[in-house]
């Protein structure tokens, strides 16, 4: 994509723009195809998943279903039921509480709980996904900020202090193989019991999860300057602080952004999981949990997609920042 943009720069003319469009199409249509096939499979999967409930409804409405009675169908195979009742399958895509909601149901729910409520002037009511997304997002961002700041500080310490490097670094690497997320319920409940609740416990989990990727990435980045470059600063009689500010930190930027992307995704997962043990008050994780308590599958799926959109926005934002910063530093592709 990047080199395609270069070709299409001013001066390349109409031919360049045409080539750009062709390349964009070449990149986009396989993706569209994969997405399209996925959505198609999704609609198809609704048939066996929802066929029993749908036939029950049709029967209650007076249709003749083979075999008769919900009991008889309970243990029947969904494929057989589909083959025997081809005329009554329309309901599988419009159930109230389907086992698998159809894509358009999720889309409608997403629209109604976001744009729809905003248009009705209730953008931040309790049912609006904006409210829940904001609750999760604020914890994510606070935790991500804390984790990133501490991670960079520790990385600077590790690079400048050999004892610290040898003591801490193996643990920082080993901690990435440990399911830290298992700590989440305990952190939330313990902090609750000492009177700290709300944003901070979730933010701490987020911070914890984004901390280690940033440490490991930044140590790599701060060490990325070559020996010749370090030697040059040595001949300038530069202090360690000057070396840090003028060489190591700028050189570490590509590594920083790579680990920020990992870190922000981990932060979001941390905030979502951090919302589970508090009894589902607010936030996307709470929506997931409440949905699973009450069998509101459409709500679960829409919360899941909201979380996915949020993750994509966060990672995309950092990607944009990366392009701008690295571009201005002359390190862009």
């Amino acid at each position: 994509m990047a080199d395609a943009a270069v070709t299409a720069s001013p001066g390349a003319g109409v031919a360049g723009r045409g080539r750009f469009a062709a390349r964009a199409a070449r990149a986009v249509w396989p993706v569209l195809m994969v997405v399209g096939v996925t959505v198609g499979l999704w609609y198809a999967a609704c048939l066996p998943m929802n066929v029993k409930e749908s036939l029950n409804q049709a029967e209650r409405a007076g249709a003749v279903i083979v075999p008769e009675g919900g009991q008889a169908r309970r243990d029947a195979s969904p494929w057989g039921l589909m083959a025997q009742n081809p005329a009554h399958l329309g309901g599988v895509w419009s159930q109230d509480r389907p086992r698998l909601p159809a894509p358009h149901q999720v889309a409608v729910e997403l629209y109604e709980t976001t744009v729809g409520m905003a248009l009705a002037g209730r953008a931040f009511s309790n049912r609006s996904l904006f409210t829940h997304a904001w609750v999760t997002l604020s914890a994510t961002l606070l935790g991500f900020g804390i984790g990133t700041a501490l991670g960079i500080l520790l990385a600077v310490g590790i690079v400048h202090n050999r004892a610290m490097d040898m003591s801490v670094m193996p643990w920082a690497i080993a901690s990435q193989t440990i399911p830290i997320l298992a700590l989440a319920p305990m952190i939330v409940v313990v902090l609750n019991s000492v009177g700290i609740s709300g944003l901070l416990p979730k933010a701490l989990i987020s911070a914890y999860l984004s901390f280690f990727p940033v440490v490991v990435g930044m140590v790599k980045g701060l060490r990325s300057p070559e020996a010749a470059q370090l030697d040059l600063l040595w001949t300038y009689n530069a202090t360690p602080a000057q070396t840090l500010w003028k060489l190591r930190l700028p050189a570490s930027m590509p590594y920083l952004f790579a680990s920020l992307k990992v870190g922000v995704a981990a932060s979001l997962v941390g905030a979502i999981v951090g919302e589970l043990p508090t009894g589902a008050v607010a936030g996307l994780g709470a929506r997931l949990l409440a949905g699973s308590y009450y069998g509101q599958t459409v709500q679960i799926w829409s919360a899941l997609f909201a979380a996915a959109i949020l993750a994509a926005l966060l990672v995309g934002l950092i990607g944009l920042l990366q392009r701008v910063v690295l571009g201005r530093m002359g390190m862009g592709r």
Binding site: A163, W171, P185, G195, P277, G285
Partner: protein, 311 residues
Amino acid sequence: MPPRKGGAAPRRLRRLPPEYLDQDDGAGMALIAGSLAFWAAAWWLNVRLAASRWAGTTAGRLAVPAIFGATLLVLWEGLVRGLSVPSVILPPPSAIAARFVVSTDILWADFVQTFVKGALTGYAIGALAAFAVALAADRWDVLRRGMLPVGSFMAALPIVGTAPILVMWFGFDWQSKAAVVVVMVFFPILVNTVEGLRAADAMQRDLMVTYAASPLQTLLKLRLPAAMPFVFNGLKISTTLALIGAIVAEFFGSPTLGMGFRISTEVGRLALDMVWAEIVVAALAGSAFYGVVAAVERRVTFWHPSQRGRG
């Protein structure tokens, strides 16, 4: 207990049952001072070790982090006991170790349920599925160009959120946990394998053409081996994801067994020593799992520059 701590915390603490708060003042101060002194001594030792000629040897590389880890444990133990932190907030390591030793049978049952049944099964299925799809994507280029962006996108999403749905579909037992793990490990392994299958360079592929090798032979003898470092990268990332998926899925419903179940119920009963014991199991299982996959990687990709020269 120290005389007073400001803020809202003490008010809440006082409501805890008295048996949680054991009082001893003089010994407490000694414990704090002792652990701080240990910290200083260990720090001094590590600084000396790092500067000495031992630093480059294997023994030195193992000793320094080990001393650091031991320091953390001693500080934790000394401060928790010295400040009489209630065990419902942070139990000392010795209490966790004691709990670990007396409840090995429960921990083992949880480990089998969550790790062996849930995580390992899901990991195996997910890895095989991702591998099969990657081979298909490699065979048809259109599929690859469509899969790769979608797969990388999916790998960044909070997939663990599918847990409530899959628990609803597959029931409370380990099958639903395995399903969550399948979805979680699928995309990282897929993306890495697809990348890896393109790793063989043009010169090597030309050589296979001059040998008149069939596509299958090229795949088996050149491109699959060349892909292995990438494949194992995906497999290693996924070891942690598998364990996370299996544990978090249990927060959404499980039989009365399993690491995630134990963590969430014991947290509710404020039996934090048991929670920590379970976290120790999770940490050990996670590192061991990673270690096994990394060991297999060393055997399979012994030819790769990153593995050579390690003895």
